[in-house]
């Protein structure tokens, strides 16, 4: 922020008047079910936006289909509510057309991982600078209660009255496989952590992915409560901090030790276990192998890790595209229609 209270626009250096959370709210009535976790995510995004110092007109929210995908209607920025699963494709087009824009993708577990699995994967591996937030409630809400690709095996629901026989997919594993340059996880019920993660995602340059555990109080209420409730969360969740050992527990006495390629929980001091045997988190590791191991840790065997798993830099797609265009102009000259039409072998009839 500059001294006169004006923000420097992060994308093109223009100054903008200091915005507030209110500036990002629309006049549209928010229509999620009362008590839905989506409200919390919307509130945190609206809270973080003014802090970023980017003019509203430079921000675009793009969504697919599902409860979460109504999100753009509630953000007073540019927005595009597209078709099921394809938001990353539309967002890619917007970003490539105008790399000055900050482009967000709002998606859900069905939207991103089922019908849109292909686009999700390819947007991440191309390293287009998109900020993808996946609202994972492990259920289909808008279609009223069918199982989703993240529903746990055996879950009983409307379309699987005897329990699902679909093995769930881990969204983080997919993101690592696609070599996303930013991968994080947060939760609707922890606004402070959530806003911090949204800010990290916003500031990352490249394809960023944030999974948010989000409660659907109508069709899958309490999906995450067995590890996230206040009384148990310190024992059952693990806050990832770059450069620090992976320690958790009320008394900070437990940690993650890597035995070969297999993680295990150790109790510090017990059977001679030492702090220096605990894995130290490195979100900047070039290879996503360790992040992948962390991303697969599930309750009850392990504490559920929250935070930034991976944050690395590599050239973005749009940057390389712009580079090719500049090179083409430098070597061939700026496009000239007369020359274009006359290219190839021509002849004249008199």
């Amino acid at each position: 922020m500059s001294e006169n209270g004006k923000l420097t626009d992060g994308t093109n250096g223009q100054t903008a008047v200091k915005l507030t959370r209110k500036d990002f709210q629309t006049d549209q009535e928010v229509r999620w079910c009362p008590g839905c976790g989506d409200y919390s995510i919307l509130a945190q995004v609206q809270k973080v936006m003014p802090e970023l110092g980017i003019a509203k007109e430079k921000i675009v929210f793009i969504s697919g289909i599902g409860c979460s995908s109504r999100f753009p209607y509630y953000m007073n920025t540019y927005g595009f509510h597209t078709i099921h699963g394809r938001a990353p494709a539309f967002a890619t087009g917007v970003k490539l057309a105008n790399p000055d824009l900050q482009v967000w993708v709002i998606t859900g577990d069905g939207d991103a991982l089922s019908i849109g699995g292909n686009h999700f994967m390819h947007a991440l591996r191309r390293n287009v600078d998109l900020k993808i937030i996946l609202f994972n409630n492990r259920i289909y809400g808008l279609t009223k209660g069918q199982y989703s690709p993240t529903s746990e095996l055996g879950k009983k629901n409307k379309s699987a009255p005897m329990g699902t026989i679909d093995y769930p997919i881990n969204p983080l594993s997919l993101a690592f496989a696609a070599e996303a340059t930013f991968v994080g996880r947060s939760m609707d019920v922890d606004p402070k952590h959530l806003s911090m993660m949204i800010e990290r995602l916003a500031k990352h340059k490249g394809s960023g992915f944030l999974e948010v555990y989000q409660n659907c109080n109508i069709f899958n209420d309490g999906a995450f409560k067995n590890f996230s409730e206040r009384e148990v969360k310190e024992e059952r969740m693990l806050a990832l901090e770059h450069g620090k050992p992976l320690i958790f527990g009320k008394n900070k006495d437990r940690g993650i030790h890597l035995n070969g390629a297999t993680p295990e929980v150790i109790n510090i001091g017990e059977n001679g276990k030492r702090v220096d045997e605990i894995l130290v988190h490195n979100e900047n590791a070039p290879e996503p192998n360790l992040s992948y191991i962390l991303g697969r840790m599930q309750y009850p065997e392990f504490p559920v890790p929250m935070g930034v798993f991976r944050a690395v830099e590599k050239p973005t797609y749009e940057h390389m595209l712009a580079g090719q265009i500049s090179t083409a102009i430098a070597t061939k000259g700026a496009g000239n229609l007369e020359k274009l039409l006359n290219s190839g072998e021509t002849w004249t009839i008199n």
């Binding site: 595009f80 597209t82 087009g93 700026a334 496009g335 229609l337 004249t348």
Partner: protein
């Protein structure tokens, strides 16, 4: 590169014996897909164009990249028609067939007219190849070819002999045989070798031994024909009366790509092309990706849906959003086209049609996606549809598609097909000044801005793109309230919006040209066509008109909406015949719209209409 040939230079290589004048010749080169027949065909074409013939071509290649050598599926062909008069088709049947192996003979011989010239490479007529082609006996010996003027030459051995001095490996020497065959044909049809010699030098400049070998093979073929007099006579096809101007030979797919680049320049908006590789549309992607110096952004997407999704995203962000594919890809893009209709964004969808349904005949032509373009989406989902009539016309219609899409804020289909895309013809280069003025203005004024407030004349909504201060708004696939663009479930509003979207497309009529009639505006028969059938229809109708028959033709380049005078045009004739390479899709639309008892004449063989077929059909109604 511009080629001009001095008369003296031409004379140097001209055979001394006098050539017999002929008006029009159709040659088909056929061989294994690795034999270089496409190169041979395009070289003959370029040379013919340069010396002033009118030309039209039809490449015909297999879907397999390299089917087993000598097999029937591996046969690749290239037909070209060249003439001293105005021609519009690649010719019904070849006068000359060059067959480089038994399989090529087997696949193509049925098309060669009686008494046609048949040149065979006898080296390839061994037991193994005859078996692969399914010949029970050797056609060179069993008399089955007695109805043709047969020339048997060991082209492979002759090529190798000519290259004795070459240091190239045997296999590479053998690959020069297509140039040997080309040399023979150049002598037979009195063509200069210079343009091809020049082309070889440029193409293989980095590999002098290869360039040298090809040059030697070409010259050897030419000289062999000249000195041995195997062809007792040779032919000359004079200059056609072509409108003065500057020309280049162009395929439909190249003209399409160049047309869209030109359109984006004329509109003053950058071009974004999202595409997924598919035959026969991929060449558009290849061509566009070469022109990044125009700021063209090409995006090879993960699939057809992502390709159009990105194009729509780019359109939202102020680019000319373009996506291109063939029929199966359109099926995948349908939902996204619906979104572009709902969000009223300018988008152009190229469909280079091919034989279907499903994977169908990927390398063969068909016109059977008209109804898919027209209706192939859920609910009432109108789009504009334009269709080029010839390879060079793809340029003009690409500009037209962008003009309509941006002017009316509506998706527009560009219906090309495999025949247009791969076929080529001379293109008279237009003067830049003569191209349409179609500069697009984006909305920047905040005062009075509403996302769905419409222009009175066109009903277009404003194009307000992200990045513009004060115009932040949200669009999407849910029904929109007219004017505000807010989500609306109101029944009255939905009814209004469905009608507005239809009306908007219909109103394009005020900006599209009237349908022209080729011939008199009334009479016995009107032949109504669209798309790539233009050449055959016009040639057939012209032949009949020259005989004094009461027949006219009209060709639709705008299929939705139709030109405003179409109904009146139809009324002038006793019978309307609609030839199409489908089962009567335009006929269905015309019959429904105008209550005209049109005759539907159809063919779905993956090949264009022959002029003779059309003449025969039209005669039934004269």
């Amino acid at each position: 590169m511009s080629v001009t040939i001095q008369e003296e230079e031409q004379n140097k290589t001209r055979p001394q014996t006098k050539a017999e004048e002929v008006e029009t010749v159709t040659i088909r080169f056929a061989g294994d897909s690795g034999d270089g027949m496409q190169v041979t065909g395009t070289q003959f074409t370029s040379t013919s164009a340069i010396i002033g013939n009118d030309i039209s071509t039809l490449p015909d290649f297999p879907a397999e990249i390299r089917a087993p050598a000598g097999s029937l599926p591996g046969v690749s062909g290239y037909q070209l028609n060249f003439s001293s008069r105005d021609i519009r088709t690649p010719g019904d049947e070849p006068d000359v067939l060059v067959a480089m192996n038994p399989a090529a003979l087997k696949v193509n011989i049925k098309d060669l007219g009686p008494g046609g010239i048949l040149l065979l490479n006898t080296d390839e007529f061994n037991d193994n190849n005859l078996k692969k082609a399914g010949y029970p006996s050797n056609p060179l010996q069993d008399g089955s070819l007695s109805g043709f003027r047969l020339f048997q030459l060991p082209i492979t051995s002759l090529t190798l002999k000519a290259l004795e001095a070459s240091s190239l490996p045997f296999k590479q020497q053998e690959r020069c045989k297509n140039f040997y065959a080309l040399g023979l044909m150049y002598w037979l049809y009195d063509r200069p070798m210079e343009p091809t010699l020049k082309w070889i030098e440029e193409k293989f400049g980095a590999k002098p031994e290869v360039a040298e070998a090809n040059l030697m093979a070409l010259k050897a073929g030419f000289n062999y024909a000249d000195t041995t007099e195997i062809f007792t006579t040779h032919y000359h096809v004079g200059k056609a009366e072509i409108r003065p101007g500057k020309y280049r030979n162009i395929t439909g797919n190249e003209a399409t790509a160049i047309g869209f680049i030109t359109a984006s320049q004329l509109a003053g908006r950058p071009l974004f092309y999202g595409s997924y590789p598919i035959t026969p549309a991929s060449d558009v992607l290849h061509e566009l990706s070469k022109h990044k110096n125009f700021g063209v952004k090409t995006f090879q997407a993960e699939d057809e849906i992502a390709a159009i999704g990105a194009a729509i995203g780019a359109a939202f962000a102020g680019h000319i959003g373009l996506t291109g594919t063939s029929g199966p890809g359109i099926a995948l893009k349908s939902e996204a086209i619906g979104l572009a209709v709902m969000t009223e964004l300018p988008l152009v969808v190229i469909d280079v049609q091919r034989g279907g349904p499903s994977t169908g005949l990927p390398t063969k032509t068909e016109q059977a996606d008209l109804l898919q373009a027209m209706f192939g989406r859920n609910s009432e989902c109108p789009v504009g549809i334009v269709a080029p009539a010839t390879p060079a016309d793809c340029f003009r219609m690409a500009i037209e598609a962008v003009r309509l899409a941006t002017h009316y804020m509506v998706p527009v289909f560009f219906l090309s097909d495999g025949y247009l895309g791969n076929g080529s013809e001379p293109w008279e280069l237009p003067e830049i000044e003569s191209l349409p003025q179609m500069k697009v203005e984006l909305r920047t004024e905040t005062e009075g801005f509403l996302p769905y407030l419409r222009d009175e004349r066109t009903l277009a909504r404003p194009w307000a793109v992200p990045g513009t201060p004060g115009l932040e708004h949200r669009i999407g696939g849910l029904e929109k309230q007219n004017i505000t663009g807010n989500v609306s479930y109101d029944p009255e509003n939905h009814d209004l919006m469905v009608r507005l979207r239809a009306e908007k497309v219909q109103r394009m009529q005020q900006d599209i040209p009237e349908l022209e009639i080729f011939g008199k505006s009334s009479g016995k028969v009107l032949v109504l066509g669209w798309g790539s059938t233009f050449g055959s229809i016009t040639t057939a109708v012209e032949q009949l008109q020259e005989k004094g028959e009461s027949v006219s033709s009209a060709h639709l380049r705008h299929l939705n909406p139709f030109p405003r005078n179409l109904g009146d045009v139809l009324k002038g004739f006793e019978t309307v015949i609609i030839p199409e390479l489908n089962l009567g899709q335009l006929a269905l639309l015309v019959r429904a719209r105008f209550l005209v008892d049109a005759v539907s004449y159809t063919k779905v063989k993956g090949k264009p209409f022959k002029v003779a077929e059309l003449v025969g059909k039209i005669k039934e109604y004269l």
